[in-house]
Symmetry: C2
Subunit: 445 residues, 2 copies
């Protein structure tokens, strides 16, 4: 074969090459069945947040990269390696938002003079991260974000945890299905001070505690030993780390009020019916910006023992934009972990997709009259489609069932002339004959 | 000043430089007031599409760039210049989706063996385009996409136009507020054949007709003259272009059935109560992929005489992915033009944000008890917040009003002891005293 022939073959192959139907790597297509689950999750999130008086907001997926780089070179590396960041043709660095908190802090700071504080705000943004694929981790996910801005009141910390708990309960979860672990950055800072740790040691120790559950006990202790100067303080630290769930922090370990404050949060939540809260000194939360109460919710099922959501108080974040700090407390929870939780505990409703009625024209000539009938049902709030195909009635019914359609109505010459119709309920075959008005009532009952 | 001092000042300035609170250029922040409008639009879109039995789907914002390049080098240029396209660290070319049709065609083709056709699908994706800012054009916008896949039936073309019209009517629009202009690619192809145009001439002419409204009459005619070989065919073309709205195409101009078919679409829509449809030979729709009926809805208000939505039949698009073609008909409509239309015709409801109740603790010590009362109201479906601040009652009420709160309830020692409460309606000051149960009924009435 001559070279030019080869090239010609290659050209031809290239031209007739079929496009792949796969989505981009690490992201998800939502076919109607999955989208119905997604919408059920989003709707339950919205409804619960709105029952607490939270108002919805949103921002663009695209943010100036500097928004994420503001906290020094360490963050700069994070932005470059773990986010989708690119330069646009106007030579601006743009990032696909990896989290919502910087965006909402930007928005709140931007209109601080016009907004009436405290604000209760929520959002359900899609977020992007560029990382290796692993179970439950995708490159694009959705996250409920709830925040209260503009108050230092402990009542806000309590309410935000109450809201997190109420959201899981709105899906039908019981207190026994999950546990709420609380800690406090102030308490942690105070403990570190009592152990005479300097800033760099504290930072290193916080990182170690954050990874505690991923390390063997021995490895964890060896690493801790390297951070502490003296045996005595190391022992104090390790005794805090070995507290059983719900066990109180010994009074000898703290001369401060931060622990008492945290216990007040716990007891007030109990008074509000949230009985699954306990102090956990290993809760650290990755982000640097937390300043007070921090918390994390975990699934109690051994099959899905994962973190469901986390959050806390961050009173300094808006300082990046100038002006006085605006105190804030909030949390975020992802769609993937939410769905895993619902599936683990069998809390997903069976019938998320439902259509009230399929009108089946006896043949295609009746399609327009069928559509007219459909409009009458729609005007009364029913969801109705006209079954369009050349198939037999049996096939129309099979298709209706696959679409979770509750009723069918066959429309032909008889129906056209008599203006009476027969509705058939697919679940049990029950038939009802009558005028359109009567059948609307039947569908709605 | 010594150089080192200068450097030190610069360093310092850099460190204390405040971050901008502006969003990325050309995109929008949605503060709660705007988000409420956005949600109202999305909810009305969803509700109407679902009343027609349409099922919601979604895909990721990120798509492989090849999805948009498939139609030759011309598209390649378009992808590179008018979209956000970048190379990821795995050396894959990624594009932020500029339209939804290629994604949905990919999804439908990918599961063609499992899906029950015909499909009625809708989605409300955010789309990105990289272009200069101009009125009504933003770099990120949202778009309702509705499509029927898997049927060549004319009834599907009719239904999709009926749905488009029903959506505008669901917002309260009347037939007189907008007009539906229809055309057909088949009819256009047939006319071009009758004028003996070859493919390249037809393409050039289609592009010219698509731009007709942006050109002066003289300029349009001069450009047309260059395309046509003979005076006679040019005159025929110009007579088609000068048809008055609703005027019939003279029988002498077409020996085919395509025009008849289009008139059937129009008359069937009229039978369904859609009276504002007319044939417009200048409707071209930019995309190459349309194959049959095409349509566009225009605002009739002189202040906002713009295209509101457009769509048509595209029967070949899934061929790119291999296998037999899957016929399709659909449309897309954007959030920006939708909002402009609603504002122009004063169709936006006044009270889109609403909270049922603000509970005002007499002082912060009553906050937790107030939250407990709030939970009771929430359990009955009310939206309630506890007013958290140290301000006077008057300020709490002002804040409640600014949040569109319907009622307030002041909670203090008296309420705590007596377990009777007083609800105040802010619109008229009406007070109702009673138990929680009685007040729930009052709020819901």
């Amino acid at each position: 074969m001559k070279k030019s022939d080869k090239e010609s073959v290659r050209e031809h192959t290239k031209e007739t090459k079929k496009l792949s139907t796969d989505p981009y790597v690490g992201v998800r297509d939502f076919y109607p069945e999955d989208m119905a689950v997604q919408q059920y999750i989003f709707d339950t999130w919205s409804k619960t947040a709105e029952s607490f008086g939270f108002a919805r907001y949103d921002a663009s997926t695209l943010e100036p990269s500097e928004l994420y780089k503001s906290k020094g070179s360490e963050n700069e590396e994070l932005v470059n390696e773990q986010t989708y960041t690119f330069t646009d043709r106007g030579d601006r660095e743009v990032t696909l938002r990896p989290e919502m908190t910087p965006s909402v802090a930007r928005m709140v700071a931007g209109k601080r003079r016009e907004l009436t504080f405290p604000l209760r705000w929520y959002s359900i943004p899609n977020l992007f991260r560029y990382e290796r694929k692993q179970r439950g981790r995708v490159r694009e996910h959705w996250q409920l974000n709830c925040d209260i801005f503009g108050t230092y009141a402990e009542a806000a910390d309590i309410e935000i945890i109450l809201l997190a708990s109420s959201i899981l309960k709105a899906f039908g979860a019981q207190d026994a299905d999950f546990e709420i672990k609380i800690n406090s950055r102030k308490l942690w800072n105070s403990l570190c001070s009592s152990w005479a740790l300097i800033e760099s040691q504290k930072k290193e120790l916080s990182g170690l505690v954050d990874r505690k559950n991923k390390l063997e006990k021995k490895e964890f202790e060896e690493k801790a030993e390297k951070i502490f100067a003296g045996k005595e303080t190391l022992q104090k630290f390790l005794s805090v780390m070995s507290l059983a769930p719900g066990e109180e922090l010994p009074r000898t370990l703290t001369q401060n009020t931060e622990y008492e404050e945290l216990m007040v949060v716990q007891s007030r939540l109990e008074a509000l019916g949230v009985t699954n809260v306990s102090y956990d000194p290993t809760i650290m939360r990755g982000f640097d910006y937390y300043t007070g109460t921090i918390f994390e919710l975990f699934d109690t099922d051994p099959a899905n023992r994962r973190s469901l959501l986390g959050g806390g108080r961050y009173d300094n974040l808006t300082e990046l934009f100038g002006g006085d700090p605006i105190p804030a407390v909030g949390f975020g929870m992802g769609d993937v972990t939410m769905r895993d939780f619902l599936e683990t505990h069998k809390l997903l409703p069976k019938e998320l997709q439902r259509i009230d009625l399929a009108i089946i024209p006896q043949n295609i000539l009746f399609a327009n009259d069928a559509e007219k009938i459909a409009q009458t049902f729609r005007a009364h709030g029913c969801s109705v489609y006209v079954s369009l195909s050349d198939k037999k009635i049996g096939d129309h019914i099979k298709a209706a069932e696959s679409r979770h359609t509750a009723h069918i109505l066959v429309f032909g010459e008889h129906e056209s002339l008599s203006e009476t119709y027969t509705l058939k309920r697919l679940s049990d075959g029950k038939e009802t004959a009558g005028s359109l008005k009567e059948l609307v009532s039947e569908i709605k009952s």
